[in-house]
Symmetry: C2
Amino acid sequence: MDFISNNNGHLLSKMATNDGHGEKSPYFDGWKAYDSDPYHSTKNPNGIIQMGLAENELSFDLVQEWVVNNPNASICTAEGANEFKEIAIFQDYHGLPEFRKGVANFMGKVRGDRARFDPDRIVMSGGATGAHEMLTFCLADPGDAFLVPTPYYPGFDRDLRWRTGVQIVPVVCESSNNFKITKEALESAFQGAKESNIRIKGLLITNPSNPLGTVLDRDTLKTLVTFINQKNIHLICDEIYAATVFNQPDFISIAEIIEEEDQRNCNRDLIHIVYSLSKDMGFPGFRIGIVYSYNDAVTNCARKMSSFGLVSTQTQHLIGSLLSDDVFVEKFLVESAERLAKRHEKFTKGLAQVGIGSLKSNAGLFIWMDLRRLLKEPTVDAETVLWKIIIHEVKLNISPGSSFHCSEPGWFRVCFANMDDEAVKIALRRIWNFVLQSSKGVEEHAKRKCRNLQLSLSFRRRDDIVMAPHMMSPHSPIPSPLVRAT
Amino acid sequence: MDFISNNNGHLLSKMATNDGHGEKSPYFDGWKAYDSDPYHSTKNPNGIIQMGLAENELSFDLVQEWVVNNPNASICTAEGANEFKEIAIFQDYHGLPEFRKGVANFMGKVRGDRARFDPDRIVMSGGATGAHEMLTFCLADPGDAFLVPTPYYPGFDRDLRWRTGVQIVPVVCESSNNFKITKEALESAFQGAKESNIRIKGLLITNPSNPLGTVLDRDTLKTLVTFINQKNIHLICDEIYAATVFNQPDFISIAEIIEEEDQRNCNRDLIHIVYSLSKDMGFPGFRIGIVYSYNDAVTNCARKMSSFGLVSTQTQHLIGSLLSDDVFVEKFLVESAERLAKRHEKFTKGLAQVGIGSLKSNAGLFIWMDLRRLLKEPTVDAETVLWKIIIHEVKLNISPGSSFHCSEPGWFRVCFANMDDEAVKIALRRIWNFVLQSSKGVEEHAKRKCRNLQLSLSFRRRDDIVMAPHMMSPHSPIPSPLVRAT
Ligand SMILES: Cc1ncc(COP(=O)(O)O)c(C=O)c1O
Ligand SMILES: Cc1ncc(COP(=O)(O)O)c(C=O)c1O
């Protein structure tokens, strides 16, 4: 017998044969480039430095110390192994009570105890990744859409769309007002969708923002709450960077807003929070995602769906103990924020030395770097050209704005918390060298442009762009460390 | 502002508001009943004994011993904590190399090293639950269907159908030939679907079977392979009970069959294995699911989908070490099978003492108990009546055949490996008491029936039904332990 010739296009699902997973993006291409030539201080000092991963590795010493001091928290120590069976066999999708308690406690502490979380509403998922997909499955039918302000995390294209058949309608935000989400932008996206007969089921915001590193202010949050109530659509708040706020202003959670808000002004059934320990604690490997919905039906449905991506009970058990320890949690939150602030300052100051600005930010594990002036022209193509140079010649994997659906070319996300001080130094040196070289080119280019457009090269100084004064012109002195690029 | 009145039916997805999750089944109702009155030897000795959970808790002492003796395997011990950061931060969806190696090694060992598994084909998922959903998403579009022989695991209704929009077309198997999957039954289901314009994309089998506790023989496996090749549809083999085979005949994996089979007779691109450590090791809490596909495109697609349900790296790390230890693995497999055999024997013999038979089986964590003679009439309603009595009066949570889509009323799945010897004793006593009481009823009933139908009460003795000779008539002596039901 000969088998019928194999045509996977026909044998597999449409989903398996289309590109809906969204991996064909420079965001992921950059990771692949890094994988083929990863920097290592001794083994591959000329390799690509990974600055495309929003990881938080600055405070692991605190966790490690706690773990060693609390052998009872693990089922793999002599002290804790007698619980091995009970934990390994536990498969209730409600989760271990101590896990839910610990997570609810932590979520409150991260928000300065200004909001309370009910352990019985904690629903597990496989990371925030799984949480977003679960919520989408709960809230929207195939063909429906969610509004998502740009720039946004590239993974949303996979999480919200791929297996659900749901669409994303971008809400275009612009640098001219620091990428603020305005009522006008929301209305315009909503009306645009309406005209295309697309049913909008909700609005997804990321607060603090990835990639911006900024937090939403109270007024904006209230505007969003009013907007979604008027339209009777859902509001999903991805707050997975909540504990990465390292400077003023404080983080304001949607949980605080709705606790303040008169119930008549806000239908709580429309509000859902996505959380995870991947960023705030730096545990992306543990796949601890949380759906926290104020809607009972959604909580129930999501819990049933969580069967597809529960958190390992081994991990639940450990995390339950860790996050119930208030002394540890409080110390960790303070210390982690301080370290992020320090790293952020070092990094932005280093960039400023060569005149590179970034959006003023106080949160996140990255900065939103402004390289608009290094573009040959303000297009995505030019941005891609620059990005390829940065990856392959400067040897830094950073992520271009286009991969975040940014409406304006020339912005790049640069992660700063996934490496040690030494790597930061080297990364900065590489940037300095590069900018020095391209400044010459930019100068030429700018001169030509000036001649044509009667514009001066000097950049308008703005409050929201961090820029060192001495680098406002390309004639500034070369900072010392860039004698030799690694 | 008043918000538009909340109508979840409109606000949420169809998925969230229908019953597609399949939890409205006696299978799950039984769990709920148990939860409201759980047996405990001292605290609630009259509570319901949980025999509805296919858990394997007989060999945890071996694992616990290994864990304590191998502190390096955990990131939470003084010996292993220096790897905490590296493991917690690892988020590559390919999985830790040592995990893939360990699992591939274990999968081979479980199959007596008669098949080899390539670590690079190991794709993670959130349990077999997540694996089944992932494969369905990869292989079928909404509206398509899979053939599934009955009786089958109730979770398939959720896993294959709920979020995918795919259907299940049952392949009806019957007790008359020990629920064997025949070519005729397959053809008939396939043709039936065709006539209803339903596109069949694959066949899903569970080998060893849940709920039957039997293994498929070589001939049947070859028939299946020929069938799916002729139809050019997929074959998904759920082999999550592979290591629970405790008696002859040996387990034969589909992996062995296709390694033997001429490639011209079998298109490997059609073959996919679902595996998990929930049953063979008894770790359902750890959510270690595996998709092992021989189709490259499916492997790639499933790996991308695995982002929604990866295994915690804390658990990957532990399991990688555990399953790479051949001395442990070999000892565990032998010992676990022996303990299951012993428990199975004790249990079936105990039932036989009161004349209760079950399908002859050599695998699994359950028996398929034959209570047909206790039904008032051969209907699902009568089965449900009996089941309710067993839960609420006999106080055993067992699962009725209807929840497994069994075509013939009167069969019940009874789990025997999720409890200690003491609980088994009590469960048996309760059954004895119950049968003794109902035998009287049955006798009355049978006498009446005999008068009508000219049939004798004696049950035909069959090789595939385990039944104690002295209980072939309801007049047998009462076994001693049933003096008092707990
Ligand atoms: C905004 C945002 N949401 C969700 C995720 C996914 O997080 P997790 O690792 O918990 O799946 C990320 C990861 O980068 C993110 O930045
Ligand atoms: C046949 C079968 N497949 C899959 C599963 C789900 O297993 P897991 O715990 O790995 O999700 C079960 C659990 O009972 C099962 O019996």
